[in-house]
Amino acid sequence: MIRTTRAFLAVLAAAALGVAGCAGSSGNVATSTPVATSSSVGSAGAAPSTESSSSSAPSSSGSSSTAPTSTAPSSTAPSSTAPSSSGSSSSAPSGGELSGTVTVFAAASLQKTFDDLTATFEKEHPGVDVQVSYDGSSTLVTQLTQGAEADVFASADQKNMTKATDAGLVTGTPTIFATNTLQIAVKPGNPKGITDLASLAKSGVATVVCAPEVPCGSAARTALDAAGVTLDPASEEQKVTDVLTKVAEGDADAGLVYKTDVSGSGGKVEGIDFKESAEAVNSYPISVLKAAPNPSAAAAFVDVVTGAEGQKTLTAAGFGAP
C-alpha cells in the first residue's frame, strides 16, 4: 500500500517539479514534499519576487498578542526614514536600511493611486518589494482577524479600521489620509436620465450598490436614508470596483460608487453628483499593523501615503484632503 502511493507520488512530484523547472522567480513552495506540514511550506506566502525567502519567514514571536511592537505611531516618522514632508529621496540616505517585503492590505478604491505610490516607494527604497492586496475593506478586515499576515492596512472608512483596532491588530493611532465622496455612476450619455437618488428607485432602473458591510455600501445607505429613498438594488457587491464593472459592462443601469472610481474609469462610466453625498463622506485611515513582519518599512510606506507625495497623487485622482 505504502509503496504504491510512493510510486504515484514520485510520478506526480516529478511532474510538479518538471513544471517547477520552467518557472522563473516565483514563490517557493516545497514541491519536493507535497504533504509536508513543516513551516517551510506553511510560510510559503513568499512573494513571487527575487527577494530572499527570509522575508517570508513567519514571525517567530510566540503569539500575536504579545508581539513586540517597536514601531513608533505612524504619525511620527521613525528615525530610520527620511521625514515624509520632503517628498523627495535626496534629503536623507533612505533606502539603505530598508529591505524585504511590505504587504499592504488596501481598499479596492485605492488601487490606482496606491499602484502609483508603490512604484514611487520602490524607486526610493530599491531594497523593498511592496505587495498590495486590493479588496473590499470588510473582506480585508476578516482576513486580518483570521490571521492573514500584513504590514499595513488602508481602509476606505473608519468603521472597518475600528474593527481592526478593536481586534487588537493595529499599532498606534490610524492616520486619516484622504476622503472620498459618492457619485451615481451611469453609462456615458446617461440613457436612463438619472438625475438624483430618487430616480434610482424608478421602475426599469437596475441599480447596483456595495453591501452594507463595505465602506461604499454603508456610505450609500447613509446617503439614501438622508434622501429618504428606499432602494431595491439589483445586487449588493463586495467591493466598489465590482459595482463599477457592473455599470461599465452594462449589466446595471446605475451604481453608487466613489467620485474617484468614476474619474479613474477612463470614460467607461459617467458620474452624476447628488446633494446627499455630502452627508456620507468617507474618511480613509491607514495604519501599521501590530503583527507587521517588517514594521520599519511599513512605517515608511505609511509616511509616503500621508506625506506630500501621497497627498499629491491622491488629490490628482479626485480624493479629498483629510
Binding site: 513551516s39 490571521g147 499576515e149
Partner: protein, 253 residues
C-alpha cells in the same frame, strides 16, 4: 425534442458568447501578461500538488471503502461524500476555523511553530484537496466495486502477497479509472474558487489562482475584462483537453 434542444443551447451558447467576446488579436498579449502568468503558474503548481495529495490519500481510502463491508464503512462513505455536495464556500470557512491562527488546530501550530497556514500557498493546496478528494475516492471506489475481487482472490491463492497483488493485479486493472479520476480531480482542483477565496485569500502570486484572477480582473472596474476573457478561454481549452484525455474507449472521436 424541443427541451433537448433548449438544454443544448443552454450548455453551449454561453461558451459561444465567450468565444465571440474574445479579442483574438490581443489574446497572446493578454495571456502573456504578468498577472496571468503568475496565476497560471500558481494554479498549475497547486493543482498538481493537490492532485498528488489526493492520490496518496485517495487510493487507500477508495480501497478501504470498496473492499470492506459494514455499517461503519457506509457511514464513512457518507462522510467522505459530504465535501462533494457541500458548497465550497462552506468548506472554506470550515478550513479557516480549523487552521487559521485562531483555529482549532491552527492556533497551536501558530503558537508552537509560528506556522501560518491560512492565506498561504499551502492553504490553496488544502482547499483544492478538500474539494477534489471525494471526487477521486468515489470514482475509484465505483471502479473497484465493478471490478470485484475475483482477480485478487486468484492471485492470493497463487501465493502472491498483498503488495504484489496490489501492484500486479489491482492497480493495473484500475488504471483507466485511475487516469480519468486523476484528470477529473485535477480539473476540479484547477477550478476551485469558493473555498480558496475564503481560506487562502486573494494575493497575487501567493494565493490568486486562475479562478480568483478571473474574478479579480473582471471586477477591476472594466480594465481587466479582456484579460479575464482570455483566462476564461484558456481554462475552457484546458477543460476540453482534460475531457479529451479521459474520453471513454468507445468514444465518438
Amino acid at each position: 425534442m424541443v427541451p433537448a434542444g433548449l438544454g443544448i443551447a443552454l450548455l453551449l451558447l454561453p461558451l459561444v458568447a465567450l468565444l465571440a467576446k474574445a479579442d483574438w488579436a490581443q489574446l497572446p498579449a493578454a495571456l502573456g501578461s504578468r498577472p496571468v502568468l503568475l496565476a497560471l503558474w500558481l494554479s498549475l503548481r497547486c493543482g498538481l500538488l493537490a492532485t498528488a495529495v489526493c492520490l496518496v490519500l485517495g487510493i487507500p481510502l477508495a480501497l478501504l471503502l470498496a473492499r470492506r463491508e459494514g455499517w461503519w464503512i457506509r457511514l464513512l462513505r457518507t462522510l467522505v461524500t459530504v465535501p462533494l455536495v457541500l458548497p465550497p464556500m462552506v468548506g472554506g470557512i470550515a478550513l479557516l476555523y480549523l487552521l487559521s491562527t485562531q483555529g482549532l488546530i491552527g492556533q497551536y501550530l501558530f503558537e508552537w511553530f509560528g506556522t501560518r497556514i491560512a492565506f498561504s500557498t499551502l492553504a490553496v493546496v488544502l482547499a483544492e484537496t478538500f474539494v477534489a478528494l471525494p471526487f477521486l475516492v468515489l470514482t475509484l471506489e465505483g471502479a473497484l466495486r465493478s471490478l470485484g475481487d475475483r482477480f485478487e482472490t486468484v492471485a492470493a491463492t497463487l501465493g502472491a502477497g498483498r503488495t504484489t497483488t496490489l501492484f500486479r493485479v489491482t492497480l493495473p486493472l484500475l488504471r483507466p479509472a485511475l487516469l480519468s479520476g486523476t484528470a477529473l480531480c485535477f480539473a476540479r482542483a484547477l477550478g476551485e474558487f469558493g473555498a480558496t477565496a475564503l481560506f487562502a485569500g486573494n494575493k497575487e502570486g501567493v494565493t490568486r489562482t486562475m479562478p480568483l484572477a478571473i474574478y479579480t480582473e473582471f471586477n477591476g472596474g472594466g480594465d481587466g475584462t479582456d484579460t479575464a476573457v482570455a483566462m476564461s478561454l484558456l481554462l475552457v481549452v484546458v477543460a476540453l483537453l482534460i475531457l479529451f484525455a479521459v474520453r471513454p474507449r468507445r468514444s465518438v472521436w
